[in-house]
Amino acid sequence: MHAAPAAFGTAAQIADDVSSGTTTASAVVEQHLARISEHEGDIHAFNLVLAEEAREAAAAIDERISAGDEVGPLAGVPVVLKDNMCTRGVETTCSSRILKGWKPPYSATVADRLTDAGAIVVGKANLDEFAMGSSTENSAFGPTHNPWDLEKVPGGSSGGSAAAVAAGFAPLSLGSDTGGSVRQPASFCGIVGVKPTYGSVSRYGLIAFGSSLDQIGPFSTTVEDAALSFEIIAGHDPLDATSAPEPALPVRSKLDAGVEGLRVGVINEMNGSVIEGLDADVLARSRAAAEALAAAGAIVEECSIPSSVYGLSAYYMVAPAEASSNLARFDGVRYGLREDGPNTALMNQASRTAGFGAEVKRRIIVGTYALSAGYRDAYYGKAQRVRTKIIDEFNAAYKNFDVLLSPTAPSTAFAMGDKTADPMMMYLNDVCTIPSNLSGQPAMSVPFGVGDDGLPIGVQVLAPLMGEVVMFQVAAELERAAGGAA
């Protein structure tokens, strides 16, 4: 069995044990490294395993503990970073040939915050190239396999980060979510995945895909671990102009509060009535989740976000438009792959042709077109208007509800190669997750049982801007309900 979430304890347990001296950071790291060397060959969660660096960091933590120093709330906890987050002096590739070998001279804010809290980075996780995809099959360095079934995809684009946690390589990892890239792989891999409020977690050092949509969030095996890590990575960062001024929200404060009296809206459009292509077992688990919350005392009613059906179309204009600009800098001039050419323009062209994969090129072309003179208003402009409408509809819904509920992904993990031939089929994976990226509001996926194929299914809890406290509160209740059912 490859799936073994929290094989050596949750992050909270490990940090307690390491801080209290019950175990050492070095022992924890060795356990996880051993598991990685045993199963990584089958799963390919990593672009890079940082075994030596992790051992050194663990030894340093242990030394500080024996010296009686304060070591932080994630002391000795192995963590995995998606390979689109910069790590000083450590190769950061975005799973792209164009960045192969590039070592950033600085670290992402989230990486610094985790290590400052005592966490130990054990590797850089595979992803769909530049986070563009829903299966981690678009990696230049080969696909990642789902630990529950190696023939199945782990989801994407943060498939490596999700698979690493599901396989027990680390209790905690970070992914980035532009259209569902944390929540969908969390659903496929049977773990918790969070897309925080836009601006609550710094994007400094995250290699941009769609800058107005990108948000970093944690993967974990428990809601508590997700909350613990969120409190560490969230909070204002003076290096990111879109960073919210507030400190991190105290999301662990209400995990045990229950849902008595909370108003939960079940999104009509995502429960089979409007958006097509959601599998019956997925819809069944989503209904079961609603029933479980009702049983726990929540007031559960249907609600409607009518424009959410246009979310996918709007997203596939806005995200590629921003990507076409964000990815212009990979031109062979300053870093990364350079293919020679007779002049600068042809060198740029040759480098980009050789360096980018097919999906990245497709989105650059779509985005370039969407912003072109004469088309900009019809495509990019209209998409932004849809976005405004979705925000208005969500805000209207949150006048009546504390949180909303929906399936995370239309299906369980699908077979590798199943959807690679048809980009539209692949894009449909994000139909339930995209509206939250467009609105900037938080959402998270919580495992809630399995499908007809025995593979995990997640349900999605959505909340208003900066509504993470109630979102985690409801997620914790679903976790208890799912545990009781299992």
């Binding site: 689109n84 987050m85 910069c86 950061t92 975005c94 960045l99 590039w102 950033p104 001279p105 600085y106 992402a108 994007r203 400094y204 050092g205 995250l206 290699i207 941009a208 769609g210 800058s211 107005s212 003076p238 290096l239 990111d240 102009a241 879109t242 438009a321 921003e322 076409s324 600009s325 212009a328 800098r329 990979f330 031109d331 001039v333 300053r334 870093y335 002049n343 600068t344 323009a345 740029n348 370039t368 912003l371 072109s372 003179a373 900009r376 990019y380």
Partner: protein, 477 residues
Amino acid sequence: MRHEPSLPDDWELVCGLEVHVELSTATKLFCGCANQFGSEPNTNVCPTCLGLPGSLPMVNESAVTDAMRLGRALNCTVLPSVFARKNYFYPDMPKDFQTTQYDQPTNDSGWLDIPTGERIGVERAHIEEDTGKTTHVGGDGRITSAQYSLIDYNRAGVPLVEVVSRPDIRTADEAKQYVSELRGILLALDVSDARMEEGSMRVDANVSIRPVGSDELRTRCEIKNINSLSSLGRAIAHEANRHLDLYTTGDAPVQETRHWDEESGRTRSGRRKEDSDDYRYFPEPDLTPLIPSADELDAIEAGLPVFPAEQRSRLAEAAGIEPTAASLIVDRGDADFALASIDAGADGARVVVHLDNNLADGIGKLTPASFAELVGMETGGALSATQTKDVLAEMVTSGQSAADIATARGFEAMDTSELDSMVDELIANHPDEWSRYCGDDEGDAKKMAGFFTGQIMKATKGQADGKVVAQLLNARK
């Protein structure tokens, strides 16, 4: 140098200017790197201004304040504004897009009054980042044929304000006055060095012509690579004549960018605009809109300095001269000194003459009080014009008082009775010259006046006052 004739009376110039002003902030627009000219290449750089993957911009607030102050100086409305990305590939632009402003600039619709009294409209003054600097090596020095190129990113991310005028400029001289006036405003605001030769102020001219009386806007050409005020005038005049030649031979200009070539005094064709780049502008998602508060705007308004136009009219009034005659002093930044000297009792006309003619290299150690003392000695007859000039030169370098220098040099005004007898003696010794002086031939009389004055000056070693000598000669006619 080629001489460019003026357009014939039935044609007129239609010209608008785009002026890029480098702000002299301590740091760059979006990062903390030093904004410094002349450092070793690629030393004032960081992940953000190198556009490294994952880096993000943070807005330099003092650059925004400087830009808003400039906007108010140009009578613009300061509005909530949004940064936008202008997308195109060029190796000296680290992100392959320029962060600028597009449909929501910081400063909208103002004007600039030039000394002739004309009002030139300002369409907008927006904030953007500068690019790096590329040196192409080999080939003809252009990117297309170079063997290799060297890039210095020190300038990448330096804050610029682009001031875009309306096509209200009708002569090459107005264009020069507009730029000169803008430069004066920038210096008064202390927001830029505004040196065209060093590139901290770069001027592109959009030039077209049309028959007088028409209000059409004909095909324009954008002239780049203009490195001085005099080149600006020549380039515009040349381009206008080139258009005239085309129209009068039944041809027409094409819309394009043209480069001014200083040596040949001509513009040569650059990039055609008809297949111009599509810059795919969209709002910069990494930055939030700039929304100035009422307090901020009030503080900007209250902190604006006195601008050149106002300085000219104040000085003109104080000195009793035409405002245009005050231009040189104002442009040199000496207006406050001139006004203070007049306040201290100096004769306004003499203050203007000395500043215009004898203090071109700066006022050095002069103070308004010491200068006023000197001018007082001159107008009171204690020093001749020549002596005043000598004393002034020494005051600039030594800082000593006029009286001390005059005493040390033995400058004392001759008394008139002494001069009287000298003049009489001179006339007696030169009867022929005297009769020519008194004759009808005005030119010859003038020559002889010079002769007599020169002789007296020689005899008195320059201590005599030329004006007094002239009066004495005239009285004996």
